[in-house]
Each structure stands twice: as structure tokens, then as C-alpha cells.
Symmetry: C2
Subunit: 292 residues, 2 copies
């Protein structure tokens, strides 16, 4: 049933700092997360008992809340809860920390806010090592929609992921691991849970967020480190033909980090000459900063 061998949460913490038994219910039957997918989330990597790239995720959570007309999250409270959840998870293995902020119960009142930490899904080790096969799928809307319909939640990481999960299930029926969404006019957008980055003409390129895609924290980390090392990085429209012409296509995400696309629509893609460098730079980008 789970699309990618996800494991049960082992740490459940509400934003008030209270730990909960993961095997006991936490949410009311009428929480708007459950009945409307109405809220925002973030997924963070936990390594050595610390969460990675915390500030970028908190900034995106705040932006999602703003787009969703939710009260601005108290980032100090979230920061403390993230630290507590990561410590509770411990240092023995990597974990996936999820931040969940919902509109609360249907009758109104306070938002629901909690954190969970789960083991890495079974697939992550293999994906990091071997990469993924991907197919392109039409997302359905134009790259202009974010500008013409700003009320749409295109820049928010909402809990309404049914279409994203359906795309992954469809890919699996086609023998592929992953999906690269393209817009109505044929522009490359993003994956259902990741950013797409290519290496073309000596430049790391990703489509601009203005095309109605989510600003990727891992992709931004890569661009930051790459630019520090003097490597060109650009936000630029990407067409499906660019994926074939590129010397490297990757899907970047917070938990998996890097998945090299080794096969696209059934066509094998050569390993990139900068694949090793990209992995190193992403690793450098997500290192937890030592406690100050």
C-alpha cells in the first residue's frame, strides 16, 4: 500500500513540546488536514541527532502558511520542537522529520501543529546509490498560472498531495520510479516530491519558481555551495529536450537528497561528469551547523 516502503513514525511531538505515543491517535476526525488536505508541511533530514537545513524549511513553512491564510507560525517554537524531536530520534540512524501545520478542526479554533520522525523508507539507500528511472507526465497547468491566479497555492507545500501520489503510482505501473512534471505548454516543472536540476553548458539549471513550482530547499543549498565554488547556476526555463541534451539530470529532495535520473521515458541517460561533485556539494549544503 505505501507508495515507497515508508515506515511508521516513531517520534510524535506536538508543537507545545509534548511527546505522544505514535500508536495512539492524535488528530480529531474533523481536523481540516484530514478532511480537506488543508494545511502545510515540511520534510527534513535528521542526521546524527540534528535536523538539516532548518532555517530554509522554517522560512518555507512560514511562506506556505502565508499563502494559505494561516496564522504566522512562531518559528522560535518550531525551532525548539525540531531540536527536541531530532534529539528524541537520536543519533543511531538517519530519520525523516515532518512538520505538519493544519487549519485545525472544522469548527475553528487553533491550528493543529505537530512533528513526526520516521525511519528512512527502504527505497532511499537504493535511490541514492543507483538513481531512478523517471517518466514525464503532464501536470495540467500553464507556467503562467501562478501569476494569473495568485490565489492558487502553487508556491505552498500543502497537505493536498493526492495528485502527486497518484502520479507516482502511475509511474510505478509504467515500470518507472519517478515523475518529472511538465506544464501545459511543455515546460519541465518539478517532481511530485523533488526539484529537477540539470547540468547543461557548464551550468546547473533548474526551472524558476515563478513557473508555479515549489522552491526546493536542497536545490537552493546546491546552488549556494556551487556558486561559492565558482560554478554557474541559473533559474531558466527547461524543456523536455533539455533533459536529453543535458550532461546530467537529478531530482533533489530533503530526505533522499540526490536521485540521479538514469533513465528518462525509457531512454538511458549517461552518468554526468559532475555527478560526484554534485553529490559532494549537496552533502556540504545540508551539513547540520554545529550548535552555536
Amino acid at each position: 500500500m505505501p507508495v515507497d516502503g515508508a515506515a511508521a513514525a516513531r517520534v510524535v511531538l506536538t508543537l507545545d513540546g509534548e511527546l505522544h505515543d505514535p500508536n495512539q491517535p492524535l488528530l480529531h476526525a474533523d481536523d481540516l488536514a484530514a478532511v480537506r488536505g488543508d494545511g502545510a508541511f515540511e520534510t527534513l533530514l535528521v542526521r546524527k541527532g540534528r535536523a538539516c537545513v532548518v532555517e530554509d524549511h522554517l522560512a518555507r513553512l512560514a511562506n506556505s502558511a502565508r499563502l494559505l491564510d494561516l496564522p504566522a507560525p512562531d518559528l522560535g517554537e518550531w525551532r525548539a520542537a525540531i531540536e527536541m524531536a531530532a534529539q528524541e530520534w537520536g543519533t543511531a540512524q538517519e530519520g525523516v522529520l515532518r512538520l505538519v501545520l493544519t487549519r485545525g478542526r472544522e469548527q475553528g479554533g487553533a491550528p493543529t501543529a505537530y512533528l513526526t520522525v520516521s525511519p528512512m523508507s527502504d527505497r532511499v539507500d537504493r535511490v541514492r546509490r543507483e538513481g531512478v528511472s523517471a517518466i514525464t507526465l503532464e501536470r495540467g497547468f500553464s507556467i503562467d498560472l501562478a501569476a494569473t491566479a495568485p490565489w492558487q497555492l502553487l508556491g505552498a507545500k500543502t497537505l493536498s498531495y493526492a495528485t502527486n501520489m497518484a502520479a507516482l503510482r502511475y509511474a510505478h505501473t509504467q515500470g518507472a520510479d519517478e515523475v518529472i512534471f511538465v506544464s501545459a505548454e511543455g515546460n519541465v516543472l518539478e517532481g511530485p516530491r523533488s526539484s529537477v536540476v540539470i547540468w547543461l553548458d557548464g551550468t546547473f539549471i533548474t526551472p524558476p519558481a515563478e513557473h508555479g513550482i515549489l522552491a526546493g530547499t536542497t536545490q537552493r543549498g546546491l546552488f549556494r555551495v556551487a556558486r561559492e565554488r565558482g560554478i554557474e547556476c541559473a533559474y531558466r526555463p527547461v524543456r523536455p529536450a533539455d533533459l536529453i541534451a543535458a550532461e546530467g539530470v537529478w531530482m533533489l529532495s530533503s530526505a533522499t537528497l540526490v536521485a540521479r535520473v538514469h533513465t528518462l521515458n525509457g531512454l538511458a541517460l549517461a552518468t554526468s561528469p559532475v555527478d560526484r561533485d554534485l553529490h559532494d556539494m549537496v552533502e556540504a549544503a545540508v551539513q547540520p551547523i554545529s550548535a552555536g
Copy 2:
């Protein structure tokens, strides 16, 4: 905070027939309904202790489950639970019965299945009496998407309603009550929680479900009764200009039943000569059938 004055659920029942305290949590923190909006739902009207149009809603729930690759729901079990929930609600007032079927917890295992009954939201009485003002908003995709991307869940009533709720919030900021979505090419689609029906050239017209919209149970009930009375009903493309040319525009849904659109994009629409007839036919369509 609630978009339309919704009230707390007073009856919470799991599909196994167990009643739960509505003020106690029911769902785990990692239920895929909450973290992915991954599941299906239905909303039924409860009148005189009975749920209305049960079989149409069960058929649509089964179709949503099929589109979502969920196990086929046991309709006999749902039927029994619906009856129990409606009886538990009682005969004193109308209620809103929600059926929720989710993919279950992230680690896999059984789907989560439950029912809630809540009081009508405060707005329903007013809307039934006075109608609504509506604005048209671009939904973002083409009427061809359902055919070209069948993996998209356009015909499923999924729990991923964040965009629908955002559209309603946006309408409220524009001083309107409701939204009529139009496709990328400018075809009328549906409301965020309702079907659109117009009266034009002596015919009730609604856009075809093949345009990527949800088959409306109340709209179908109207068409059934109207055809029995010799009135023409058609599934046909509808353009925004048709909304102005029409002698009547309504938004039909299971709980509110009929909301006459009295104002569209700021323009007052005349009351339809068949408004009273339409109300009568919808009432006839949703009468609970006596126990057999």
C-alpha cells in the same frame, strides 16, 4: 477561521460500527489523509434521521476509491454505518454526514474509514433562501486533461481540497460567496463544492463530467426528476457568456441542495422563471426512500 461557519462533528463512527467521542482524537499523526490528503470523501444530507441519496454517494465513493487505487469499499458495511450514524444523529434537525475513506497509515495496512455527522453550517439557511454571489476563477487546466492524463484524479472526490478552499477564501476577499471555476480555454466547470446548472433555451444544462469535473449527485437527481416530468436536460459545454444569457444559474450540492446565483462577477442575474420548479424537483430528488 472556518471558511463558512462549520460546526463541530457531534457523531463520529468508524466503519466497524463503533461510536467515538467527537472530542477525542481518532486519527494517527501519520494517517495519509492528514499528511497527503490521500483518500476520498462524500457529503450527505441527513433529514428526519435518514441519509439522502445514499446509493449515488456510495457509487461515487466506490468510483473515487477505484481512481485512487484504494481497495473497493464494502458498500454493505458503509450502508449499515450510514444508517447507524443518521439514527444516532436523530430527527430533531438536519445534519451533514461525511464519509471518509483514507489510504490508512503511512506504513501501510488497512484503509481508515469513518463517518461524522455535524450540524448544518450557519450559512446554509441564508444561502438556500437568498442564493449566492459568485465570481469566476481560472481552475488552471484544460477540459482535455481528464482524457489526456487519466492518472490525474479529476473524477475522484479526494481529500485534497486545499485549492478548492483557497478559491473560496479568495472569493470572500472579493466580497463574493462562491466560485465558478473555468478551464484554461474558458469553459465553465463547477464550484469548489458544487455543480453548476443553468436554464437556457428551455433546457437544464450542466457541463459534461468528461471535462474533468465531479459527477454531481444533486445535479443528477435534478436531471432524473426533471426528465420524468418531461423537461429537457443536457450535458453540454458551457461558456461564461452562457451564464449571462441563461435564465437561471444554480450551484447544486448535497448539503446546501440549491444555491441560486443572484450575482455573477458583480452583475445581478434575474431570478429564473423556473427557480421554484427547480427547488421542488431537487427536493423530490433527495427524499429519503422509506425503509424497504
